[in-house]
């Protein structure tokens, strides 16, 4: 890397039409039960 290396490629706004299905896990049902970390959930699609 000389100056910039992108670690991610997909924007949050990518292909929004097909998103929002709601089938993913509810964050508080995972390991935490006390602190919300939505960003480490998985997309079901």
């Amino acid at each position: 890397m000389k100056h910039i290396k992108s670690l991610t490629t997909k924007k949050l706004s990518h292909n929004l039409v097909s998103k929002g299905c709601g089938e993913c896990q509810t964050s508080c049902q995972s390991a935490c039960k006390t602190s919300c970390t939505v960003g480490n959930q998985k997309c079901e699609k």
């Binding site: 670690l7 929002g20 964050s27 390991a31 006390t34 480490n40």
Partner: protein, 451 residues
């Protein structure tokens, strides 16, 4: 909006609106810090430190990102897609416990009420409730919770079968989780859990000393010696199926990195360690003055994780596992935890609360299994409080990772669902930075292996 940070000799910029993350050189980091408008006004400060050619190249590289709309992207002009639909339920099958953990938000199991177990009839009513009120959602989640759910395991067992039998009639799929202190775990229960449960969360705080300071039996003895062998046997039986060993750290014991290391030494690989939830002023509260220590502990944990990565001693830490490419969609990141709408908690008496942490506070009772959700006003308050509406979140770089944080923490510390618990925010930000740094590490190692 961007966020710049460095950790362990690497620099990063997060483009908040797009969620894109870039690893950057020192000169790019300095340019974005000193000259975020890219006006080339601070050349002198840069030329003292870098060759002009490097500065020019760095400016060009930044400009290229901006031109490709990969940096300084516009804010997301988006509204929550749909009124959320119920899909998850915390089923408190036992408001009773066989431990007396000092920090328990359920007041040692009874949630400030009387000790009680959920009847099979109420449990079935709850299962019917989620089946009938989950619209077109296919995947439904039930977490058997308490108190201690193994104290009412026959009801758990019946409800698991009940739900499974109903799945085809409603075209649904249940995912079951159980959160337990492990005291009553045995082979027979584990076999059942392994057959039917997607996840098991086992509560254990770390070393014997740490654990037994807080997690005591009814006679005041530490629980470590009793539960550790059971948990080890349970995890061994679990094989490849999901489990978590979940600890809690408090203001009384902030050095949780050692506890995580200890949990790993016991053979557990899937770990989570959460900051305690307390009322302000509680003796276990993590205070603002503790924040530096907590951050140092996350750094220590980061270091341990990195050292162990790709070795036989590796482990996963819940908050460090961020999938940067296949994570949740923007709608989910705005909607947050879904408490009160996508997610509810049910008491043994069939009362409905927005989540397990509001149980016992009558002002948050939103309905009953008989009446359904009648207090739509509270339900709506939870829905309306999201990262697009909360003032503190609007300006925060971490908003699409935490999605506004925990409603219960906000309410318990600030008596306001719209005002996030600041300490929680700071800890979350630190965890996200560690997670991103570890992701960069993993990518670098993969690239090196490829070459």
């Amino acid at each position: 909006m961007i966020h710049l940070f460095n950790l362990d000799e690497k620099n990063f910029v997060i483009d908040v609106n797009s969620g894109l993350i870039h690893e950057i050189s020192d000169v790019v980091y300095d340019i974005l810090t000193l000259d975020s408008q890219l006006m080339k006004l601070d050349q002198e400060k840069l030329s003292n430190k870098y060759r002009q050619q490097d500065v020019d190249e760095a400016y060009d590289a930044i400009k290229d990102l901006v031109d490709k709309q990969l940096l300084f992207t516009a804010s997301n002009d988006i509204v929550p897609k749909l009124k959320p639909v119920l899909k998850a339920m915390c089923l408190n099958v036992a408001h009773d416990c066989n431990l007396t953990c000092e920090y328990c938000f359920a007041s040692q199991g009874d949630y400030q009420g009387h000790r009680s177990l959920m009847s099979l009839e109420t449990g079935k009513q709850a299962m019917d409730y989620i089946l009938e009120n989950s619209g077109n959602r296919t995947n439904l989640e039930v977490d058997f919770f308490g108190g201690e759910p193994l104290m009412n395991f026959e009801v758990v067992r019946e409800l698991v079968h009940y739900g499974k039998a109903k799945e085809p009639l409603y075209n649904k799929h249940f995912r079951y989780t159980i959160t337990t202190n492990g005291v009553l775990l045995d082979d027979e229960k584990m076999d059942f859990i392994n057959t039917y449960f997607d996840n098991i969360v086992l509560s254990l705080d770390g070393t014997k000393e740490t654990n037994d300071e807080i997690r005591k039996t009814l006679t005041g003895k530490g629980s470590y010696d009793h539960v550790v062998p059971k948990m080890q046997a349970a995890v061994k039986k679990r094989k490849e199926k999901s489990y978590f060993i979940r600890g809690t750290f408090t203001g009384k014991n902030l050095h949780f990195a050692d506890d995580v290391a200890h949990l790993r030494s016991l053979g557990f690989k899937s770990l989570s360690m959460e900051p305690v939830v307390t009322q302000p002023g509680d003796k276990l509260e993590i205070k603002p003055m503790d924040l530096d220590i907590v951050k140092e502990e996350y750094d220590a944990l980061y270091k341990l994780y990195k050292e162990r990565m790709d070795s036989d001693e590796d482990f996963s830490f819940f908050h460090f596992e961020i999938d940067l490419d296949q994570g949740p969609c923007l709608y989910k990141r705005i909607a947050g935890c879904g408490a009160g709408n996508e997610y509810i908690a049910i008491t043994p008496e069939g009362h409905i609360y927005p989540c397990h942490q509001f149980i016992g506070d009558e002002s948050f009772l939103i309905g009953t299994l008989s009446s359904g959700i009648t207090n739509k006003d509270i339900q709506d308050q939870f829905y309306q409080n999201n990262v697009l509406t909360k003032e503190a979140c609007k300006q925060c770089w971490a908003k699409y990772f935490c999605s506004g944080g925990c409603h219960a923490n906000a309410y318990h510390f600030n008596q306001d669902l719209g005002k996030p618990y600041e300490m929680g925010c700071e800890m979350e930000k630190k965890r996200i930075e560690c997670a991103i740094r570890l992701k960069a590490e993993r990518i670098e190692r993969m690239e090196n292996n490829d070459h």
